[in-house]
Amino acid sequence: MEKTKNILFDWRLHLSVLVITVIAEAIGVVAVPIGIGSILLLPLLYAFVMGLVLNPNVVRKVEGWMGQREVRAASPLIVIAIMPFIAKFGTIIGPSMEKIIAAGPALILQELGNLGTILLAFPVAVLFLGMGREAVGATFSVAREPNIAIIADKYGLKSAEGAGVMGVYVIGTLFGTFIFAILASLLATSGWFSIEALAMACGIGSGSMMAACSGALSHAVPAMEEQILALAGASNVLTYATGLYLCIFVALPVTEKLYDLLGRKEPAISNAGE
Protein backbone atom coordinates (compact mmCIF):
# COMPACT_ATOMS: atom_id res chain seq x y z
CA MET A 1 0.00 0.00 0.00
CA GLU A 2 2.73 2.39 1.03
CA LYS A 3 4.38 1.75 -2.30
CA THR A 4 1.21 2.42 -4.27
CA LYS A 5 1.04 5.85 -2.69
CA ASN A 6 4.69 6.43 -3.43
CA ILE A 7 4.29 5.59 -7.07
CA LEU A 8 1.13 7.64 -7.40
CA PHE A 9 2.74 10.63 -5.71
CA ASP A 10 5.49 10.60 -8.27
CA TRP A 11 3.29 13.25 -9.83
CA ARG A 12 6.21 15.03 -11.47
CA LEU A 13 6.92 11.87 -13.42
CA HIS A 14 3.34 11.38 -14.57
CA LEU A 15 2.84 15.09 -15.31
CA SER A 16 6.01 15.08 -17.41
CA VAL A 17 4.81 12.06 -19.35
CA LEU A 18 1.42 13.73 -19.89
CA VAL A 19 3.04 16.88 -21.27
CA ILE A 20 5.41 14.83 -23.44
CA THR A 21 2.48 12.82 -24.82
CA VAL A 22 0.50 15.96 -25.70
CA ILE A 23 3.48 17.58 -27.45
CA ALA A 24 4.37 14.35 -29.32
CA GLU A 25 0.80 13.79 -30.51
CA ALA A 26 0.41 17.45 -31.47
CA ILE A 27 3.45 17.15 -33.76
CA GLY A 28 2.12 13.92 -35.28
CA VAL A 29 3.74 11.66 -37.88
CA VAL A 30 6.43 13.22 -40.08
CA ALA A 31 7.74 11.44 -43.19
CA VAL A 32 11.35 12.12 -44.19
CA PRO A 33 12.02 10.95 -47.75
CA ILE A 34 15.45 9.37 -48.29
CA GLY A 35 16.82 7.41 -51.23
CA ILE A 36 15.02 4.08 -51.55
CA GLY A 37 12.16 4.98 -49.23
CA SER A 38 11.18 7.27 -46.46
CA ILE A 39 11.76 7.21 -42.74
CA LEU A 40 8.67 7.78 -40.66
CA LEU A 41 9.13 9.76 -37.49
CA LEU A 42 6.39 8.68 -35.09
CA PRO A 43 5.09 10.43 -31.96
CA LEU A 44 6.38 7.55 -29.84
CA LEU A 45 9.91 8.29 -31.03
CA TYR A 46 9.63 11.99 -30.06
CA ALA A 47 8.23 10.85 -26.73
CA PHE A 48 11.30 8.69 -26.12
CA VAL A 49 13.67 11.52 -27.00
CA MET A 50 11.78 13.98 -24.80
CA GLY A 51 11.87 11.40 -22.01
CA LEU A 52 15.65 11.18 -22.37
CA VAL A 53 15.95 14.97 -22.27
CA LEU A 54 14.04 15.00 -18.96
CA ASN A 55 16.21 12.18 -17.59
CA PRO A 56 18.65 13.53 -14.97
CA ASN A 57 21.16 10.85 -16.00
CA VAL A 58 21.23 12.30 -19.49
CA VAL A 59 20.75 16.01 -18.89
CA ARG A 60 22.15 17.04 -15.49
CA LYS A 61 20.24 20.30 -15.37
CA VAL A 62 16.82 18.68 -14.99
CA GLU A 63 17.80 17.26 -11.59
CA GLY A 64 15.75 19.95 -9.83
CA TRP A 65 12.62 18.63 -11.54
CA MET A 66 13.35 14.91 -11.89
CA GLY A 67 15.64 12.93 -9.63
CA GLN A 68 16.78 9.31 -9.31
CA ARG A 69 13.54 8.59 -7.46
CA GLU A 70 11.51 9.39 -10.57
CA VAL A 71 13.91 7.43 -12.76
CA ARG A 72 13.39 4.37 -10.57
CA ALA A 73 9.64 4.90 -10.49
CA ALA A 74 9.48 5.13 -14.28
CA SER A 75 10.91 1.67 -14.86
CA PRO A 76 7.91 -0.52 -13.85
CA LEU A 77 5.62 1.93 -15.63
CA ILE A 78 7.05 1.04 -19.01
CA VAL A 79 5.32 -2.33 -18.86
CA ILE A 80 2.13 -0.93 -17.36
CA ALA A 81 1.90 1.85 -19.94
CA ILE A 82 2.17 -0.67 -22.77
CA MET A 83 -0.79 -2.70 -21.42
CA PRO A 84 -3.66 -0.66 -22.94
CA PHE A 85 -1.71 -0.77 -26.20
CA ILE A 86 -1.40 -4.57 -25.99
CA ALA A 87 -5.12 -4.85 -25.15
CA LYS A 88 -5.95 -2.77 -28.23
CA PHE A 89 -3.63 -4.99 -30.23
CA GLY A 90 -5.56 -8.04 -29.11
CA THR A 91 -8.78 -6.45 -30.35
CA ILE A 92 -7.14 -6.00 -33.75
CA ILE A 93 -6.00 -9.63 -33.91
CA GLY A 94 -9.35 -11.14 -32.87
CA PRO A 95 -11.51 -10.02 -35.84
CA SER A 96 -8.73 -11.00 -38.27
CA MET A 97 -8.37 -14.52 -36.88
CA GLU A 98 -9.42 -16.15 -40.14
CA LYS A 99 -6.73 -14.30 -42.11
CA ILE A 100 -4.16 -15.22 -39.48
CA ILE A 101 -5.09 -18.91 -39.62
CA ALA A 102 -4.78 -18.71 -43.40
CA ALA A 103 -1.26 -17.33 -42.95
CA GLY A 104 -0.56 -19.99 -40.31
CA PRO A 105 2.41 -21.95 -41.65
CA ALA A 106 4.28 -18.80 -42.66
CA LEU A 107 3.50 -17.21 -39.32
CA ILE A 108 4.83 -20.14 -37.32
CA LEU A 109 7.89 -20.83 -39.47
CA GLN A 110 8.98 -17.19 -39.53
CA GLU A 111 9.75 -17.58 -35.84
CA LEU A 112 12.81 -19.48 -37.04
CA GLY A 113 13.87 -16.26 -38.74
CA ASN A 114 14.79 -14.97 -35.31
CA LEU A 115 17.89 -17.14 -35.72
CA GLY A 116 18.93 -14.52 -38.29
CA THR A 117 20.55 -12.65 -35.40
CA ILE A 118 23.18 -15.40 -35.30
CA LEU A 119 23.67 -15.67 -39.06
CA LEU A 120 24.17 -11.97 -39.56
CA ALA A 121 25.51 -10.59 -36.30
CA PHE A 122 27.72 -13.40 -35.00
CA PRO A 123 30.26 -13.36 -37.88
CA VAL A 124 30.39 -9.57 -37.70
CA ALA A 125 31.02 -9.62 -33.95
CA VAL A 126 33.68 -12.35 -33.99
CA LEU A 127 35.42 -11.94 -37.35
CA PHE A 128 35.26 -8.17 -37.91
CA LEU A 129 35.06 -6.72 -34.43
CA GLY A 130 37.21 -9.37 -32.75
CA MET A 131 34.82 -9.89 -29.87
CA GLY A 132 35.34 -12.81 -27.52
CA ARG A 133 32.79 -14.81 -25.53
CA GLU A 134 30.62 -11.70 -25.20
CA ALA A 135 29.65 -12.31 -28.83
CA VAL A 136 27.72 -15.40 -27.72
CA GLY A 137 25.52 -13.38 -25.38
CA ALA A 138 25.28 -10.47 -27.77
CA THR A 139 24.12 -12.31 -30.87
CA PHE A 140 22.15 -15.45 -29.91
CA SER A 141 18.92 -13.44 -29.66
CA VAL A 142 17.46 -9.93 -29.80
CA ALA A 143 18.43 -9.59 -26.12
CA ARG A 144 15.11 -8.81 -24.50
CA GLU A 145 14.22 -9.69 -20.92
CA PRO A 146 13.57 -13.43 -21.40
CA ASN A 147 16.89 -13.79 -23.23
CA ILE A 148 18.73 -12.00 -20.42
CA ALA A 149 17.15 -14.47 -18.04
CA ILE A 150 18.54 -17.38 -20.08
CA ILE A 151 22.08 -15.96 -20.05
CA ALA A 152 21.84 -15.04 -16.36
CA ASP A 153 20.78 -18.59 -15.64
CA LYS A 154 23.48 -20.28 -17.70
CA TYR A 155 26.54 -18.02 -17.41
CA GLY A 156 25.67 -15.33 -14.85
CA LEU A 157 25.39 -11.69 -15.77
CA LYS A 158 28.93 -10.78 -14.74
CA SER A 159 30.40 -13.17 -17.28
CA ALA A 160 31.55 -12.09 -20.75
CA GLU A 161 28.35 -13.58 -22.16
CA GLY A 162 26.38 -11.52 -19.65
CA ALA A 163 28.17 -8.33 -20.69
CA GLY A 164 27.30 -9.11 -24.30
CA VAL A 165 23.61 -9.68 -23.74
CA MET A 166 23.34 -6.63 -21.47
CA GLY A 167 25.12 -4.45 -24.00
CA VAL A 168 22.74 -5.34 -26.80
CA TYR A 169 19.82 -5.06 -24.39
CA VAL A 170 20.84 -1.52 -23.50
CA ILE A 171 21.43 -0.47 -27.10
CA GLY A 172 18.11 -2.08 -28.01
CA THR A 173 16.36 -0.20 -25.23
CA LEU A 174 17.96 3.07 -26.31
CA PHE A 175 17.71 2.75 -30.09
CA GLY A 176 15.63 -0.35 -30.84
CA THR A 177 12.45 1.52 -31.68
CA PHE A 178 14.37 3.79 -34.04
CA ILE A 179 16.18 0.93 -35.72
CA PHE A 180 13.02 -1.13 -36.27
CA ALA A 181 10.99 1.88 -37.43
CA ILE A 182 13.70 2.71 -39.94
CA LEU A 183 14.11 -0.91 -41.09
CA ALA A 184 10.35 -1.33 -41.52
CA SER A 185 9.76 1.87 -43.43
CA LEU A 186 12.77 1.36 -45.69
CA LEU A 187 11.85 -2.23 -46.54
CA ALA A 188 8.15 -1.38 -46.96
CA THR A 189 8.97 1.08 -49.70
CA SER A 190 11.71 -1.04 -51.29
CA GLY A 191 9.32 -3.72 -52.56
CA TRP A 192 11.76 -6.56 -51.76
CA PHE A 193 9.35 -8.34 -49.44
CA SER A 194 5.58 -8.66 -49.28
CA ILE A 195 3.99 -6.38 -46.71
CA GLU A 196 2.47 -9.39 -44.91
CA ALA A 197 5.94 -10.88 -44.46
CA LEU A 198 7.30 -7.59 -43.11
CA ALA A 199 4.35 -7.35 -40.74
CA MET A 200 4.99 -10.82 -39.33
CA ALA A 201 8.66 -9.99 -38.90
CA CYS A 202 7.62 -7.09 -36.62
CA GLY A 203 6.77 -9.59 -33.88
CA ILE A 204 10.08 -9.33 -32.13
CA GLY A 205 9.02 -10.08 -28.60
CA SER A 206 9.09 -6.49 -27.40
CA GLY A 207 5.94 -4.41 -27.18
CA SER A 208 7.55 -1.04 -27.87
CA MET A 209 9.67 -2.32 -30.77
CA MET A 210 6.69 -4.03 -32.34
CA ALA A 211 4.75 -0.79 -31.92
CA ALA A 212 7.42 1.22 -33.71
CA CYS A 213 7.87 -1.41 -36.40
CA SER A 214 4.21 -2.05 -37.23
CA GLY A 215 3.41 1.63 -36.82
CA ALA A 216 6.00 2.57 -39.41
CA LEU A 217 4.76 -0.18 -41.72
CA SER A 218 1.11 0.79 -41.50
CA HIS A 219 1.93 4.42 -42.14
CA ALA A 220 3.87 3.38 -45.22
CA VAL A 221 0.98 1.22 -46.47
CA PRO A 222 -2.16 2.71 -44.85
CA ALA A 223 -4.52 0.58 -46.94
CA MET A 224 -3.25 -2.55 -45.19
CA GLU A 225 -3.14 -1.16 -41.66
CA GLU A 226 -5.55 -3.65 -40.11
CA GLN A 227 -3.84 -6.65 -41.62
CA ILE A 228 -0.38 -5.39 -40.68
CA LEU A 229 -1.33 -4.85 -37.07
CA ALA A 230 -3.07 -8.22 -36.83
CA LEU A 231 -0.12 -10.16 -38.25
CA ALA A 232 2.48 -8.24 -36.23
CA GLY A 233 0.47 -8.69 -33.04
CA ALA A 234 -0.07 -12.41 -33.65
CA SER A 235 3.60 -12.90 -34.44
CA ASN A 236 4.57 -11.03 -31.29
CA VAL A 237 2.36 -13.23 -29.12
CA LEU A 238 3.87 -16.26 -30.82
CA THR A 239 7.37 -14.96 -30.11
CA TYR A 240 6.48 -14.58 -26.42
CA ALA A 241 5.22 -18.15 -26.45
CA THR A 242 7.98 -19.84 -28.46
CA GLY A 243 10.95 -17.48 -28.26
CA LEU A 244 12.23 -18.76 -24.96
CA TYR A 245 12.27 -22.38 -26.11
CA LEU A 246 13.79 -21.54 -29.48
CA CYS A 247 16.57 -19.73 -27.65
CA ILE A 248 17.26 -22.46 -25.11
CA PHE A 249 17.11 -25.44 -27.45
CA VAL A 250 18.30 -24.01 -30.77
CA ALA A 251 19.76 -20.50 -30.76
CA LEU A 252 22.13 -20.79 -27.81
CA PRO A 253 23.53 -24.26 -28.70
CA VAL A 254 24.03 -23.14 -32.32
CA THR A 255 25.83 -19.98 -31.20
CA GLU A 256 28.05 -22.05 -28.92
CA LYS A 257 28.93 -24.41 -31.79
CA LEU A 258 29.73 -21.46 -34.04
CA TYR A 259 31.96 -20.00 -31.38
CA ASP A 260 33.90 -23.28 -31.21
CA LEU A 261 34.40 -23.00 -34.97
CA LEU A 262 35.12 -19.31 -35.41
CA GLY A 263 35.87 -17.84 -32.01
CA ARG A 264 39.09 -17.17 -30.19
CA LYS A 265 40.71 -20.34 -28.96
CA GLU A 266 42.28 -18.98 -25.77
CA PRO A 267 39.94 -18.45 -22.84
CA ALA A 268 38.59 -14.96 -23.19
CA ILE A 269 39.27 -12.73 -20.23
CA SER A 270 38.40 -9.51 -21.92
CA ASN A 271 35.07 -7.89 -21.27
CA ALA A 272 32.89 -6.00 -23.69
CA GLY A 273 34.26 -2.67 -22.57
CA GLU A 274 37.44 -2.53 -24.59
Binding site: M97, N236, G273, E274
Partner: protein, 158 residues
Protein backbone atom coordinates in the same frame (compact mmCIF):
# COMPACT_ATOMS: atom_id res chain seq x y z
CA UNK B 1 28.05 -6.25 -5.00
CA UNK B 2 25.38 -8.72 -4.01
CA UNK B 3 23.27 -10.55 -6.52
CA UNK B 4 20.46 -8.10 -5.76
CA UNK B 5 22.52 -5.46 -7.54
CA UNK B 6 23.03 -7.21 -10.82
CA UNK B 7 23.52 -4.78 -13.67
CA UNK B 8 20.00 -5.44 -14.83
CA UNK B 9 17.30 -3.35 -13.31
CA UNK B 10 14.33 -5.56 -13.91
CA UNK B 11 15.72 -8.05 -11.44
CA UNK B 12 16.46 -5.56 -8.72
CA UNK B 13 13.11 -3.85 -8.65
CA UNK B 14 10.09 -5.37 -7.02
CA UNK B 15 7.21 -5.96 -9.35
CA UNK B 16 4.06 -4.00 -8.47
CA UNK B 17 1.25 -6.17 -7.07
CA UNK B 18 -2.23 -6.41 -8.53
CA UNK B 19 -3.64 -3.40 -6.64
CA UNK B 20 -0.70 -1.24 -7.64
CA UNK B 21 -1.14 -2.37 -11.21
CA UNK B 22 -4.82 -1.42 -11.10
CA UNK B 23 -4.05 2.07 -9.78
CA UNK B 24 -1.15 2.76 -12.11
CA UNK B 25 -3.12 1.48 -15.06
CA UNK B 26 -5.72 4.19 -14.31
CA UNK B 27 -2.95 6.81 -14.36
CA UNK B 28 -1.53 5.70 -17.71
CA UNK B 29 -5.03 5.31 -19.17
CA UNK B 30 -5.82 8.93 -18.27
CA UNK B 31 -2.60 10.08 -19.91
CA UNK B 32 -3.51 8.00 -22.96
CA UNK B 33 -6.99 9.58 -22.98
CA UNK B 34 -5.49 13.06 -23.23
CA UNK B 35 -3.13 11.86 -25.95
CA UNK B 36 -5.99 10.25 -27.85
CA UNK B 37 -8.03 13.45 -27.68
CA UNK B 38 -5.11 15.43 -29.11
CA UNK B 39 -4.28 12.86 -31.79
CA UNK B 40 -7.73 11.87 -33.10
CA UNK B 41 -11.16 13.30 -33.87
CA UNK B 42 -12.75 11.15 -31.18
CA UNK B 43 -14.52 13.03 -28.39
CA UNK B 44 -13.36 12.72 -24.78
CA UNK B 45 -16.40 10.57 -23.98
CA UNK B 46 -15.73 8.20 -26.89
CA UNK B 47 -12.08 7.94 -25.86
CA UNK B 48 -13.02 7.42 -22.22
CA UNK B 49 -15.37 4.54 -23.00
CA UNK B 50 -12.85 2.98 -25.38
CA UNK B 51 -10.07 3.19 -22.81
CA UNK B 52 -12.37 1.83 -20.10
CA UNK B 53 -12.95 -1.25 -22.25
CA UNK B 54 -9.20 -1.62 -22.84
CA UNK B 55 -8.64 -1.15 -19.11
CA UNK B 56 -11.02 -4.00 -18.39
CA UNK B 57 -9.23 -6.26 -20.89
CA UNK B 58 -5.86 -5.41 -19.35
CA UNK B 59 -7.11 -6.09 -15.82
CA UNK B 60 -8.57 -9.48 -16.75
CA UNK B 61 -5.23 -10.33 -18.36
CA UNK B 62 -3.37 -9.23 -15.20
CA UNK B 63 -5.61 -11.29 -12.94
CA UNK B 64 -4.97 -14.30 -15.17
CA UNK B 65 -1.21 -13.67 -14.95
CA UNK B 66 -1.41 -13.99 -11.17
CA UNK B 67 -4.02 -16.76 -11.15
CA UNK B 68 -2.43 -19.05 -13.76
CA UNK B 69 1.27 -19.30 -12.93
CA UNK B 70 2.59 -20.89 -16.12
CA UNK B 71 5.28 -18.27 -16.67
CA UNK B 72 3.50 -16.45 -19.46
CA UNK B 73 4.20 -12.68 -19.22
CA UNK B 74 1.27 -10.37 -18.45
CA UNK B 75 1.39 -8.79 -21.91
CA UNK B 76 0.84 -12.22 -23.48
CA UNK B 77 -2.22 -12.80 -21.27
CA UNK B 78 -3.61 -9.35 -22.02
CA UNK B 79 -3.35 -9.82 -25.75
CA UNK B 80 -4.99 -13.26 -25.44
CA UNK B 81 -7.94 -11.70 -23.60
CA UNK B 82 -8.15 -8.96 -26.23
CA UNK B 83 -8.17 -11.60 -28.96
CA UNK B 84 -10.81 -13.76 -27.26
CA UNK B 85 -13.32 -10.95 -26.69
CA UNK B 86 -13.12 -9.80 -30.31
CA UNK B 87 -13.22 -13.14 -32.16
CA UNK B 88 -16.04 -13.01 -34.74
CA UNK B 89 -17.87 -15.83 -32.97
CA UNK B 90 -17.62 -14.30 -29.48
CA UNK B 91 -20.96 -12.80 -28.35
CA UNK B 92 -20.72 -9.02 -27.97
CA UNK B 93 -17.49 -8.73 -29.97
CA UNK B 94 -19.08 -6.13 -32.29
CA UNK B 95 -19.84 -3.91 -29.27
CA UNK B 96 -16.25 -4.17 -27.98
CA UNK B 97 -14.85 -3.40 -31.43
CA UNK B 98 -17.10 -0.38 -31.83
CA UNK B 99 -16.02 1.07 -28.46
CA UNK B 100 -12.27 0.54 -28.90
CA UNK B 101 -12.34 1.84 -32.48
CA UNK B 102 -12.23 5.38 -31.09
CA UNK B 103 -8.84 4.78 -29.51
CA UNK B 104 -5.80 5.19 -31.78
CA UNK B 105 -3.41 2.27 -31.27
CA UNK B 106 -0.19 4.16 -31.93
CA UNK B 107 -1.11 6.91 -29.46
CA UNK B 108 -1.31 4.27 -26.73
CA UNK B 109 2.40 3.54 -27.16
CA UNK B 110 3.47 7.18 -26.78
CA UNK B 111 3.31 7.44 -22.95
CA UNK B 112 5.15 4.11 -22.68
CA UNK B 113 8.11 5.41 -24.65
CA UNK B 114 8.15 8.61 -22.59
CA UNK B 115 8.47 6.50 -19.42
CA UNK B 116 11.15 4.43 -21.14
CA UNK B 117 13.21 7.54 -21.89
CA UNK B 118 12.94 8.73 -18.30
CA UNK B 119 13.75 5.26 -16.92
CA UNK B 120 17.22 4.96 -18.49
CA UNK B 121 19.66 4.58 -15.61
CA UNK B 122 23.16 5.93 -15.21
CA UNK B 123 24.44 2.35 -15.34
CA UNK B 124 22.77 1.74 -18.69
CA UNK B 125 24.25 4.92 -20.10
CA UNK B 126 27.60 3.79 -18.69
CA UNK B 127 27.42 0.46 -20.51
CA UNK B 128 26.44 2.19 -23.73
CA UNK B 129 29.31 4.68 -23.42
CA UNK B 130 32.12 2.34 -22.40
CA UNK B 131 31.63 -0.42 -24.95
CA UNK B 132 29.52 1.72 -27.15
CA UNK B 133 30.47 1.54 -30.79
CA UNK B 134 31.18 -2.18 -31.08
CA UNK B 135 28.00 -3.12 -29.28
CA UNK B 136 26.07 -0.59 -31.31
CA UNK B 137 27.22 -2.18 -34.56
CA UNK B 138 26.47 -5.68 -33.26
CA UNK B 139 23.03 -4.57 -32.01
CA UNK B 140 22.15 -3.09 -35.40
CA UNK B 141 23.12 -6.37 -37.08
CA UNK B 142 21.20 -8.37 -34.46
CA UNK B 143 18.02 -6.40 -35.12
CA UNK B 144 18.46 -6.39 -38.87
CA UNK B 145 19.14 -10.13 -38.71
CA UNK B 146 15.99 -11.06 -36.84
CA UNK B 147 13.86 -8.76 -38.97
CA UNK B 148 15.12 -9.80 -42.38
CA UNK B 149 15.42 -13.45 -41.30
CA UNK B 150 11.76 -13.56 -40.30
CA UNK B 151 10.67 -11.61 -43.39
CA UNK B 152 12.51 -13.98 -45.76
CA UNK B 153 10.99 -17.12 -44.22
CA UNK B 154 7.51 -15.56 -44.04
CA UNK B 155 7.80 -14.53 -47.68
CA UNK B 156 8.79 -18.08 -48.70
CA UNK B 157 5.77 -19.69 -47.06
CA UNK B 158 3.08 -17.11 -47.80
Amino acid sequence: MSTAELPVDYEAEKKPDLVQHAVLLVVVSLIALVGNTVATDATIIQGLIGLAVLYAIAMVGLVLTYAVPVGLPSVAWISLVGILVTLPWTPGSAWVLDKVSHVNFLTLATPCLAYAGIAITRREIGIAKSSGWKLFIVAVFVMTGTYIGSAIIADLFL
